[in-house]
């Protein structure tokens, strides 16, 4: 689809007449693409000014297009960090709100939206309004995770977290099978603010679900070098992530290599925030390993109520479909966020890459049917192929969201390729 992308430093005029905003386009799906009937989108990335910051409270107000890369560059040296970070720095503040992103600390800190204090938005009828838990709260909560459909986010106020140092203390551990991995994740969640696991989703049998479990926390001031962890100054610590990602092996070989390259049972040590939070950012165009057709993602959360058997059944389904790609990431999620469409809920989130092939639609359908059976849901920001009936079946909160959207934008002036596909908007 040919779409026009408009850029300007000033979001107010830029967004006056377009159906959608987009940031750095790091969502995997079609949520940041405009509808075909109105193929124009406001790119927010030139709107990147800081508007207010109070070092005593950590409260920052900034324009929605500022990137996380820039926020980290500015604030890490002064020992502030975003309260929640996704696995890439190439996202905008607006995108973090619109997807209500979660990170390795979800089990303690929730989604990004839990730390947002107020938003300034341009809504569907053209007005510019402020919203917060106190003011226009329906709009506020619908916008957290609302995939850009409730309005253009112009400014965001949120609370940055003070950190004791600019380094992460990380432990990683090779785990032989799924049960051990799930046990490890829940044990780690009790003592560690950041956890996640990489998992091999190809090996069947007794080793199914083997993987590497990561636990981390900010290093205390007396443990860490006073030196700032900057890409150029990056210390060669012996406990960094394995440099496996670039190897162009087949996926199976790749998964085996990753697993076995983690030779010791356990590793521990200091790593930079970049290494810890954004291992993929170090590799430009890493998605090229999928060849020219590219890939999509499927991320779902299987609720605790479905039991840990659900994750095993998911793995069995994957193995039988032979669908899995390059990366599969497991994370145990904490409480559901207050965003009306916020993705995480207590349970296990599984994110996997799927190379785009003719059978990918079929795979997504099968995975979604499974997720519905287990009472879970998918992450809309990663989605390009799900069917509307599947999303409706897994999203009990949808009607509440659509009602707020209708109240603020009765004509659905704001819409995306995704809302056309999933919510029946005018194409």
């Amino acid at each position: 689809m040919e779409a026009e992308e408009r850029f300007a430093e000033d979001l107010a005029p830029l967004t006056s007449d377009v159906p959608l905003s987009r940031g750095l386009g790091r969502s995997y799906g079609d949520s940041s693409l405009p509808p075909q009937s109105r193929p124009v989108v406001a790119n927010t990335t030139l709107a990147d000014r800081l508007l207010a910051f109070d070092a005593r409270t950590g409260i920052l107000r900034a324009e929605a297009g500022i990137s996380l890369l820039e926020l980290n560059r500015l604030f890490l040296p002064h020992k502030f960090f975003v309260p929640v970070t996704p696995g890439t720095q190439f996202v905008t503040l607006g995108g973090m709100v619109a997807s209500d992103v979660h990170g390795k600390n979800h089990h303690v800190s929730g989604c990004f939206g839990e730390h947002v204090l107020a938003l300034r938005m341009r809504v569907g009828d053209g007005r510019i309004v402020d919203c917060s838990p106190e003011e226009n709260h329906d709009l506020f909560y619908a916008t957290l995770g609302g995939m850009g459909l409730t309005g253009h986010i112009l400014e965001v106020s949120f609370r940055m977290s003070p950190i004791p140092s600019c380094w992460i203390y990380q432990e990683s551990e090779r785990v032989p099978h799924l049960d051990a991995l799930l046990d490890g994740l829940s044990a780690a969640a009790r003592d560690w603010p950041m956890t996640m696991a990489w998992i091999d989703c190809l090996t069947p049998g007794a080793s199914m679900g083997r993987g590497i479990l990561f636990r981390g926390r900010w290093a205390k001031a007396n443990e860490a070098p006073s030196l700032l962890a900057r890409p150029k100054l990056r210390l060669r610590v012996p406990f960094s992530l394995p440099s496996w990602i670039m190897q162009p092996f087949t996926v199976r070989a790749f998964n085996a290599v990753v697993y076995h390259s983690h030779i010791q049972q356990e590793r521990r040590g200091l790593v930079s925030p970049e290494q810890f939070f954004y291992p993929l950012d170090a590799i430009r165009d890493w998605n090229r390993v999928y060849g020219s057709a590219g890939f999509t993602q499927h991320q779902s959360v299987l609720p605790h109520s479905a039991g840990r058997g659900a994750v095993r059944r998911y793995m069995e389904l994957l193995t039988s479909l032979r669908a899995a790609g390059f990366l599969c990431v497991l994370k145990d999620c904490g409480e559901e966020g207050s965003g009306l469409l916020s993705f995480p809920r207590p349970g296990t989130s599984i994110a996997l890459d799927l190379p785009l092939r003719p059978e990918t639609q079929e795979h997504i359908d099968r995975l979604n049917e499974f997720v519905i059976r287990e009472g879970g849901r998918i992450y809309l920001t990663k989605d390009a192929l799900s069917r509307p009936e599947h999303v409706r079946a897994m999203e009990g909160r949808l009607s509440a969201f659509l009602a707020v959207r209708k109240a603020w934008d009765p004509q659905h002036r704001l819409r995306s390729a995704q809302s056309v596909r999933l919510f029946g908007d005018e194409p």
């Binding site: 430093e9 030139l46 000014r49 800081l50 207010a52 070092a55 040296p77």
Partner: protein
Amino acid sequence: MNIVILGGTKGMGRALARRCVEHGDRVFLLGRSEVDLQRSAVDLDLRAGLGSAPDSTPRSCVARCDLEQPEGFAAALDAAQAHFAGAAIDAIVVTAGVFATQDELESDPARTERLLRVNFTNTVLFCEEARKRLLAQGGGTLCVFSSVAGDRARKPVVLYGASKAGLSAYLDGIDHKFHGQGLRVLCVRPGFVKTGMTAGLKPPPFAGEPTQVARDVRRALCGRDPRTVLYTPWIWQLVMGVIATLPRAVMRRINF
């Protein structure tokens, strides 16, 4: 350094202003919109002051200055000088300028006249005002953004290129004439840089980022490099070296 920037609210000017305050320079912004200038000044102050106690760093200040209103140039520069309270201004930078495609301009003489006036006539008038003040204080740098488009006429940028060619010629001239009196002229010739100005255009190979330009320009402002022309990102010096030597017949053939 004490630096005055006309055009620091957007694009390369914004990136340069940020780079300067992050390295401890004091910046005075000139531009068209008071509201926008104030917002940019706050952004600069926050970036400069992140590590220090509130109110301990000097504030960026602003004054209105519109390249379409030459009668306001003197007052704007007065305000900048007053802000620095007798301290010398190290550099006056002009990044402000406008762009339009050749097609847009050919079909719109009024727009062409405006572009030529803003990019050439009025920028020169502003530089004259700035030059006099720099000379009066005993010297300083006048740093003005021209363009590689002024180096050689190409079909898509004939009129815009002409406005920048004129500007480059003027800058070359005042460097020649006033160098001995302490005026340092820096004619910045960016290649294609990804800003709002070029947003609708397809980026060519070697398209640069405003932050690269900001780094190059600030380095040039600090250094004692005798060059008066700065190509940025640096690769554009090579690119223009090649383009400048292409015979016209070849240019015609490749429709350049």
